[in-house]
């Protein structure tokens, strides 16, 4: 479980996050949604420590993340896996080397165990036997899946996905969503997903937090979101023709 408490952030004199309080539950796909530029990425970066928030704290299963020493923070970070929007695969490494990198750095597994684990997670993301390929040889969807394999290879307790299906065709995007959902259930991770993809919201939104102009504007799930009495949220949702049709407008 991840708890965000009173999190605020300023860039210079511009406040971008306002007292965010939210709890992300274990074994669930927690979605942070909202339009671009409203603070989703800043919130996620604050949660994983890429940005130090001006105010507030993030708790990983009760352990504070920002008000501790760098060494203690590194120990928590080793329980985190993250899929980046642009995948952030290391260009000069093969797929196999990319995926096994967290194992090389963070575990004492034997070579054989690492090879087996890499083969298993690549199979799990439906990309068996591509260890020898380089990221530049892969399609966008394959890169995302390799990024996901690298994020889960060390069995993280917390999985963060930043716009996991941006730039993908609807079918591949749906496959990625399904994969993240399955992995969350299989490994029991606390999964936090930044998205503005309305298909994802309806398909895997077990918990949904709507961020609007840096504020937590609404909280619910995919079965309550269409009925939510919230003007800004409805405007956001109705940017999709499918949602408008679903709502009979």
């Amino acid at each position: 479980m991840i708890e965000v408490k009173n999190l605020s952030h300023w860039f210079g004199d511009k406040q971008v996050l306002f007292d965010i309080n939210v709890t992300f539950e274990s074994g669930k796909t927690n979605l942070v949604i909202g339009s671009s530029g409203h603070g989703k990425t800043v919130l996620m970066k604050s949660m994983v420590g890429l940005i130090k928030p001006t105010k507030g704290e993030v708790y990983y299963d009760g352990r504070p993340f920002h008000s501790i020493t760098e060494h203690e923070r590194k120990l928590i970070r080793r329980e985190i896996g993250m899929l980046f929007q642009g995948t952030a695969l290391f260009d000069y490494m093969t797929v196999g080397e990319n995926v096994r990198f967290p194992l090389d750095m963070l575990t004492d597994m034997s070579e054989k165990e690492k090879e087996e684990r890499v083969a298993y997670v690549l199979e799990r993301v439906h990309l068996p036997g591509i260890q020898h390929m380089y990221p530049s040889e892969l399609s966008g969807g394959m890169r995302k899946r390799v990024g996901l394999a690298r994020a889960i290879v060390h069995n993280p307790k917390y999985l963060f996905c930043d716009e996991p299906n941006s730039g993908l065709d609807p079918r591949t995007a749906a496959a990625i969503d399904e994969l993240i959902y399955e992995l969350t259930k299989e490994f029991g991770t606390t999964t936090v997903i930044n998205t503005h993809d309305l298909n994802s919201i309806m398909a895997i939104g077990e918990k949904i937090v709507f961020i609007y102009k840096g504020h937590k504007w609404w909280e619910g799930n995919s079965s309550t979101i269409l009925q939510a009495d919230n003007k800004e949220l409805q405007e956001f949702l109705e940017s999709s023709i499918i949602i408008r049709q679903l709502k009979g407008r």
């Binding site: 994983v48 420590g49 890429l50 923070r73 590194k74 120990l75 928590i76 970070r77 080793r78 985190i80 993250m82 980046f84 929007q85 642009g86 952030a88 695969l89 290391f90 260009d91 000069y92 990198f101 967290p102 090389d104 750095m105 963070l106 963060f160």
Partner: protein, 249 residues
Amino acid sequence: MLLEGVFFHIGRFFIMLKRCFARPEKMSVYWREFVRNIEWMGIGSLLLVVVIAVFVGAVTTVQSAYQLVSSLIPVSVIGSIVSDSTLLELAPTITSVVLAGRIGSRLASELATMRVTEQIDALEVMGIHVEAFLIAPRIVAAVVVIPVLVVLAAIIGITGGMLIGHFTDIVPMHDFIQGAQETFRPMNVIICLTKAYVFSFIIGSVSSYVGFYTEGGALDVGRASTTAVVASSLIILVFDYVIAEVLLT
């Protein structure tokens, strides 16, 4: 304002260096990085260094002969001029400035690309000592490889000058060798090596610094590459003077 910027960069540069000495998570992975860098820096630059050294030696011989018009001056002086100037200045400085272009620009663009494509963020999220993992192996590889290339350039430069002088009837080989031996001082070799080590550290560290702290997009990667070459070359020239002043006067 300018002075403030200079102090900011100097301060951040030394903080980066300090962080490079963090305890490695896995020595084997750092070693792999070191070897990879040795390979592209050393083998990749070999042909360039050889070609430049041959021509620098040849041109120095021809120009020295052009300036020595008096029949009172023995032609063996050409040997001493070529060997001394190659050891003291041409091999370490010209080779290092050329390598600042080749190695420095690649170091900077590689790290800058990693920064703008979130690869460095991915390492940070994993809880890895980013500066130690990315920068230390590059600096150490530069400090190991570049002095070897400089020594090679000195040997090839002097040999090239001697052969060109011999085959163009400027100075017979035995006169060239006699002249080189007459004025040879072990101090010249020490100065050559001192310059090689200082310059290699400058290329490795300054280029890494520029690349590592790049912000923005693809355009900024190009800018980082250019800045790294210009900054490294200028700092090399400043230290060239400082070393000459300290060791020769």
